[in-house]
């Protein structure tokens, strides 16, 4: 039995390689000259064309503007969705009110309905409001996340009522209880939720692809996809765009992995 350790370690290292290897290759390919991306054997060491590819991306998709759009959209969506989720999650977890269960079930049942069902009416709504090709059109539909509300409800339920009541007895208003006790106590799980929402916003593709029309409004995934569709695709640039899309998220993950994993586990194991 003791001999299983090294073997298992080796197998897991293999799985690790399969998962991380492509990223290593991506990072290397993004620094090559375009014609070297498709060289045989593949280039597995850094090339000297990173700055050149960055410049190329700036010219072809307006990299700085596209990055700004992506950060703005993902950031505002995160703030909004976290606020909505914390407020609603708190209400569902700690208050009794008429219609609580009905609304909660309604909310959760939409998880089963494919987002694609909603695409066309939301598109028409945005058209009628004249919001197509605006930041609002991308941000607004992402503000209500049933998953986020569910996650917050699960987390806040395990908070002892005595804690809240103690504050109320001391004369704290409800907003103050929320701000001074509920939010600080649950900061890790709220951070986890924020990370998940940000990740979703940063990577979202289908809806921005539909809602955004002009290249200067594009987010990074949309710009990358349109770049790839061109017949004269510069693959070094497309790959660099993909790497730029992946790197901040990974950095964020490495810094905050504790929250990430605990958030994932909270969603997966409670109830």
């Amino acid at each position: 039995m003791k001999s299983r350790g090294p073997l298992l370690t080796l197998l897991l290292a293999g799985a690790f390689g399969l998962c991380v290897g492509p990223f290593y290759w991506l990072a290397m390919a993004a620094t090559q000259d375009d014609k070297d991306v498709f060289s045989w054997p593949p280039k597995l060491l850094p090339g000297g064309h990173l700055m050149e590819n960055l410049q190329g991306l700036q010219e072809s998709i307006g990299l700085t503007r596209v990055l700004f759009n992506t950060v703005l959209v993902a950031g505002l969506q995160t703030i909004g969705a976290v606020v909505v989720s914390v407020l609603a999650g708190y209400a569902f977890a700690k208050f009794d009110f008429r219609g609580r269960n009905l609304f909660f079930v309604l909310l959760l049942s939409t998880l089963v309905i494919p987002d694609t069902v909603m695409l066309i009416p939301i598109f028409q709504m945005m058209m009628d409001l004249g919001l197509i090709d605006s930041y609002e059109s991308v941000i607004l539909p992402g503000l209500v996340t049933p998953f986020g509300i569910f996650l917050m409800r699960q987390a806040l339920r395990s908070m002892p009522d005595e804690l809240l009541d103690a504050a109320r007895v001391d004369g704290a208003g409800e907003l103050r209880v929320l701000w001074r006790i509920v939010i600080p106590v649950n900061r890790p799980i709220i951070a986890a939720l924020a990370l998940f929402v940000f990740l979703g916003g940063w990577n979202q593709f289908v809806w921005p692809l539909i809602a955004l029309r002009s290249p200067e409004m594009y987010t990074l995934p949309v710009a990358t996809a349109t770049l790839q569709g061109l017949s004269t695709t510069n693959y070094a640039q497309v790959l660099l765009a993909s790497a730029i899309a992946a790197i901040p998220v990974m950095a964020l993950f490495l810094i905050l992995q504790r929250q990430f994993i605990s958030g994932l586990l909270a969603g997966a194991t409670k109830e």
Partner: protein
Amino acid sequence: MSLAPPEPARTTGTVAATTNGGAGTPPGRRATPRPGRARPGRRRLLTRDSVPYLLIMPAVLGFAIFKAYPIAASFWISLTTGNGDARQFTGLANYRRLIDDPLFWTALKNTALILVVQVPLMLGLALLVALGLNSTKVWLRPLWRLGVFVPSLTGLVAAGVMFSVILNRDAGLLNWVLSFFGIDPVNWLGSPFWARVGVVLVITWHYTGYNAVMYLAGLQGIPKELYEAAMVDGAGPVRRFFSITLPQMRPILLLTVVLSTIGTLQLFDEPYVLTGGGPDNATLTVTMYLYNNGFKYFDFGYASALAYALALIVSVLGILQVRLMGERR
């Protein structure tokens, strides 16, 4: 749900019924302002009774506008044909068209094929990885756990673009690696069969680690005493796996099966970026076909009918899975 000063509050009994609809109100809940108990909180707008409604207001508004209304509107649109002012109510015409549409069936078949191959493959692999990560005999566990989770952070577009080059026939990384094993270059994205395999590979790469981490959580939640008792009774590792691990993991297995099924049925981004649905429609999925009808041909009625057909399939499969896996407890 108990509140701090419950006893005096409930002695004023009569008001509880009027403000809360009576039934279902748990004890200890303050019902309505009572004379003579003025506290600092009393003058505020946010009383204990109005607070929950104010708290859920943003969620309700957003839900009504971006979930409930679109779901209803989509159904209405699916019963109409034409665009803009020329839209006409045509009843079930779109659904009849759907049944006679060979491309819809192709898309459905492709989606089902990917589902049947990919979900068991991925979840099986994820379980193996989780079992490995759970073993205390393994060195550097946190590092491997980190690594396998990383792909699930990548956006679908970034992953799709990356793999469209990795899977390149003449110069791709994968064929290069395979050449060491004496395997001839595979035309990954160019032939109908291998294009499907390629899509399955990419999705599996993307989500296996995520599921593995979820399984790991499940494994760590199993009480150690169960294994100890089984070992005392002389159960071997295989027996322990089937008699303890799997049954204990059922809820989380169910969750991942349902989530993966829902996700795979809605598959869009990967084939869109990797193959555009080709070659010869081999990787056309239902959602991609929906997207093409809605946003390339602007046939909203037909696209909505497709959306509802898909929603129906997703719900039926989801309910079926919960029934099959959930009831045998």
